[in-house]
Subunit: 479 residues, 2 copies
C-alpha cells in the first residue's frame, strides 16, 4: 500500500527507493580502516591500508610499526622484516605509508591481532627533525597553537577534541530535529546590525581580481552578521520552532581566552512563549540532553583528555535539578554589599568580574540565570516587562566560563518596538523586521549559545582558540 | 558495571546521567501545538494555543477559524460564537491570536476534531489590505521573492520548501555521522584564496562604531572563503574522513538562476583514496542515500509542491545503477562533431551551454561524470595523471541543473605541488598548505556539492534564490 501511494505521488521506481533505504551500509566502498580491522579482527585476510607511523622500533631483523589512520585512537601493529622495506631511513614518525599484508593473531600479550606486512611503500616521507610534532610526546594545547595546520594529526587534538566537537554539533542537530524544529540557515552577510553595538566587520566592497580594484557589490552597507536572531524571528513567525547553528563574527580586539573574531553560535527561536520561565525550562532541557549524550557517546575521548589532566571541573553542574534565578536588582544588591563593587552604577551592565564574583561568592560556584535587566542595558528587541523598567531576558552564567548564553522574550508589540527603533535611527535598516510586528505579530522567545564557550565548559580546556579547528582573532588568521 | 566505569572516569552522578538519557521526551515543556493536537486528538481537554488565522468564515452567529501555528501543514478548526469575540473586525487572515477552549468531536465530515473556543485574544492584528500575503492564494515563488521577510509564513514556502531544506541538512549530517566522518567547521574568514580565480569578497578592514572609521583587523589580506577544501585537507591528513557543510561566498555579478553571493556547500575529504573510480562510487552512494531518505521523509511536503505544479522532473536519474563517465577528450570530440561547437578551443573549459548540449544531446538527459580535464583548466591542487597532461578530477553534470559538483584526487607529491604553487606566486600565502605535503603527505580525495543547486534538482524549483531563506546576490541584500 505504501509503495503504491509512493509511486502514485512521486513517479519514482519504488523498488529502487526501497533498495536504497533497506540495503546494509556499504562500508566496502570506503577505504578499509584501522578501526574496521581492530573491530572485526579478520585473521587470515589480506589487507591494503594507507596511514601514518606513530612509532617505529627495530628488534633484530624485524621492524615494529605503530600504524594509525585517524579512524581510531588505537594503532594497529605492523611487523615487517628488513628485506621487505624500501628505504628504512624514511620510516620515521609522521611518515605516510601504504602497507599490504595479512592480519595474523599476535603473540604479544597487549594486542589480539597484528599485520604481517608483505610490502611497504613510503608515500609521504617526514623529516622528523623539522616536523613540529614529535614522537611519543604529549603536545600541549598551547604548543599546538603554533602549528594549526598539523593539529588534527595530534592524537589528543584530532582524535579527542575534534571528535568531541563534531559529536556536539551532531547532537545539537539531533535534539532539534527530534523536537520538531526547522533548521534555518541564517545569512552571514547582512544589512541589519542586530545588536546595535560591538565592532562589526564591514564587507560592502569586494576585490576584483580581473581589475585589481575595490568595487561595490551590494546596493547598501553590509556587515558580517553578529547574530542570526532577527532572521530567525522572521522564520519563527511562520514555522513556530526554528534554530540556526552558524558562524558569527565580531571584530573584537579583546585577546582574552574567551574571544574569537569568528565563532559558532546556536540560536533557537520558539513561537508562542509568553513567560520567561518557560524559555528557561526549554534552555535547561537542551543543555542537559546534549551534555548527557555527549558524555555518553565520547567516553573514550574524554578519558584521553584526562590523561592530559584536562577535566571539566564543573560538568556536574549542568545536571542540577534547578538552576537558580537571580534578578538584576538582587545581583546589584549582592555587589553593593561586597568590598570590591560598592560603587556599582545605576543601570550598569555586569562585567566578567561582576559575574565571577556573583558565581563564586554568592552562588557557591553553581550556574544561574540572571534575569530582568534594565531595558537601557539591553538591545531594542527584548520584551519590556509590566514594570516598564526591565526586560524579560536572561543571561546564563556558568562557573569558569561566565556568560554562556543570553536570551529573552521578544518585543512583539508593534507601537513600542517602532518607537524604540525610531529613536535608534534604525527604522530604515530594520523596516523588514518591523514588518514582522506590523502584520500579525507572533510572540516569540529565544536564546543564543556560544559553541566554543560551551565546549570549554564541557571539556575543561581553558581557551576558545583551542576548541575551534582554525581560530581567527585580532591580528591572527593563519590559513 | 557500565555505571561504575562511568562514575570512575567522569566523576559524574551516574544516576542523573541515566535519568537524562532514558526519560521520555518532555514535550510538555514546549508550548502545545496544532500538530500535537491533530495527532493525539485529546477530546474533552482544555487547551491554550497561540497561532495565526488562515481563513475566517461566518455562519449565522458562529465564526469558523482555520487556525495554524507552523507545526503542521494542516489547520485546526476553531469555532467561536460572536459573543466570545473581542473585536470581530480584527479577525483577519494573518492575525495572530491566543485561543482557550476545549477539543470536541467535530460534526463536520472532513475533520475528526475541532476546538470550541471559550476565549479569544488578538495578539497581533493584521491589516489584510496592505499585508502582501493574501487569503486562499497560491503565492508563486516569484511573488514571494518580493517579501522575503514573510516567506516562512506561506504554507508552501515555509511548510514545504523550508521543511525539505531543513531535512536535507539533517540527512547529510546523519549520513556522514553514520559513516564515521568528523564534522569540521572550516572558517569563513581566510587568508588563502583557494580557487585562485573568481571574485572574492575582501574583509581586511572593519568598521569601528566608536570612531566611525575603517581599521585594519587582521595582519594580512583576508577574504570570505570560496571553499573549505584546503582546510579540510589539513583535517583529513589526521582524521581520515572529514566533511564540512558551510556557507561559502562568491562576489559574482552573474544574475542567472544558478548564482548566489552566499550559498551553502557540502565538502567531503577522504584519506587513502588513490583511484578516481573509488571517489565516484562514494559520491554516488552519498547522493543516492540522501535523496532516497529525503523523498521518504518529506512525502507530504513534496506532495504540496506538486499542487503548485512543481515536480522534480529528473529525480529518478539519481537512482541509476551507474552514472556514465565521459572523459574530457571524449566530450570535446562530441562538441567538435556538433553544429554549434565545432570551434571548441584546445584545452578550453566547458560553459553551461556545452554542458547542456552534452547532457541533452549526447547523454539523453541522464547525469554523468566528466573526468580527466587538462591540468591547465583546473586548480593547482588536483592530482596530475600519469599522462602528465590531465588531472584526476570529475565534474558531475545533472540534467536541468548543469554542474552539481566538482571533485578530484589531490596532488600529494610535494615537489610537484610546490613547483605549481611557486609559479602561481602563492607559495607565501599557501605555505601552511604546502606543509601538509612537506611532512608525511597523505593522499586524499574529495568533492564539493552546492546545496542550493542540489535542492533545485531535488525539488524542481527553478531558481536558487527560492531555495535559500535569505538570498544574497548582486545588488541585493534585503535584510
Amino acid at each position: 500500500m505504501f509503495s503504491l501511494i509512493y509511486r502514485f505521488y512521486f513517479h519514482l521506481p519504488a523498488s529502487r527507493i526501497h533498495y536504497y533505504l533497506t540495503r546494509s551500509i556499504t562500508t566496502s566502498i570506503y577505504p578499509q580502516t584501522v578501526s574496521d580491522i581492530l573491530k572485526t579482527k579478520p585473521i587470515g585476510s589480506s589487507v591494503s591500508l594507507i596511514g601514518s607511523l606513530e612509532n617505529v622500533r627495530k628488534l633484530k631483523t624485524q621492524y615494529f610499526l605503530d600504524f594509525i589512520d585517524g579512524s581510531s585512537l588505537n594503532h594497529l601493529q605492523v611487523i615487517v622484516s628488513g628485506k621487505n622495506l624500501p628505504d628504512v631511513g624514511k620510516l620515521n614518525f609522521g611518515s605516510t605509508i601504504r602497507v599490504n599484508g595479512t592480519i595474523v593473531r599476535s603473540t604479544h600479550p597487549q594486542q589480539e591481532i597484528e599485520l604481517q606486512a608483505k610490502q611497504i611503500d613510503i608515500i609521504g616521507s617526514c623529516d622528523a627533525f623539522n616536523y613540529p610534532l614529535k614522537c611519543k610526546t604529549k603536545h600541549s594545547f598551547h604548543f599546538l597553537r603554533s602549528c594549526e595546520q598539523f593539529r588534527a594529526r595530534d592524537r589528543m587534538y584530532g582524535g579527542a577534541l575534534l571528535s568531541i566537537r563534531s559529536e556536539l554539533f551532531y547532537l545539537i542537530h539531533n535534539y532539534f530535529h527530534e523536537h520538531k524544529f526547522t533548521h534555518i540557515q541564517t545569512p552571514c552577510i547582512t544589512s541589519s546590525d542586530c545588536e546595535g553595538g560591538g565592532e562589526t566587520f564591514k564587507i560592502k566592497e569586494y576585490y576584483s581580481q580581473s581589475t585589481s580594484q575595490m568595487k561595490e557589490y551590494f546596493d547598501k552597507q553590509t556587515y558580517l552578521t553578529v547574530s542570526g536572531q532577527l532572521h530567525l524571528e522572521a522564520a519563527a513567525s511562520g514555522l513556530s520552532r526554528v534554530y540556526t547553528l552558524n558562524p558569527v563574527f565580531r571584530a573584537d580586539k579583546n585577546l582574552s581566552r574567551f574571544h574569537l573574531a569568528e565563532f559558532w553560535m546556536l540560536e533557537a527561536e520558539i513561537a508562542g512563549i509568553t513567560k520567561l520561565e518557560q524559555l528557561l525550562d526549554i534552555y535547561k532541557h537542551i543543555l542537559q540532553t546534549v551534555t548527557a549524550n555527549l558524555r555518553q557517546n565520547c567516553r573514550e575521548q574524554f578519558r584521553l583528555l584526562e590523561e592530559y589532566d584536562i577535566k571539566p571541573e564543573f560538568i556536574d553542574q549542568f545536571f542540577l535539578d534547578k538552576y537558580s534565578i537571580v534578578t538584576y536588582d538582587e545581583a546589584v544588591g549582592y555587589l553593593k554589599k561586597s568590598d570590591e563593587f560598592q560603587d556599582f552604577p545605576k543601570n550598569g551592565d555586569f562585567t566578567r568580574a561582576h559575574e565571577n564574583y556573583l558565581c563564586q561568592k554568592i552562588m557557591n560556584n553553581q550556574p544561574f540565570f540572571l534575569i530582568n535587566y534594565p531595558k537601557e542595558v539591553k538591545p531594542f528587541y527584548m520584551l519590556v516587562n509590566d514594570d516598564e523598567c526591565t526586560v524579560a531576558n536572561f543571561d546564563f552564567i556558568f562557573p569558569s566560563v561566565g556568560e554562556l548564553s543570553g536570551g529573552s522574550l521578544r518585543e512583539h508589540r508593534y507601537e513600542r518596538l517602532h518607537k524604540t527603533v525610531e529613536l535608534l535611527k534604525l527604522d530604515d535598516e530594520l523596516d523588514w523586521y518591523l514588518d514582522l510586528r506590523r502584520y500579525g505579530s507572533m510572540p516569540t522567545a529565544g536564546f543564543g549559545l556560544g559553541i566554543e564557550r560551551f565546549l570549554i565548559a564541557l571539556t575543561g580546556i581553558d581557551n576558545v582558540r583551542d576548541v575551534i579547528p582554525f581560530p581567527r582573532y585580532y591580528q591572527h588568521c593563519m590559513s
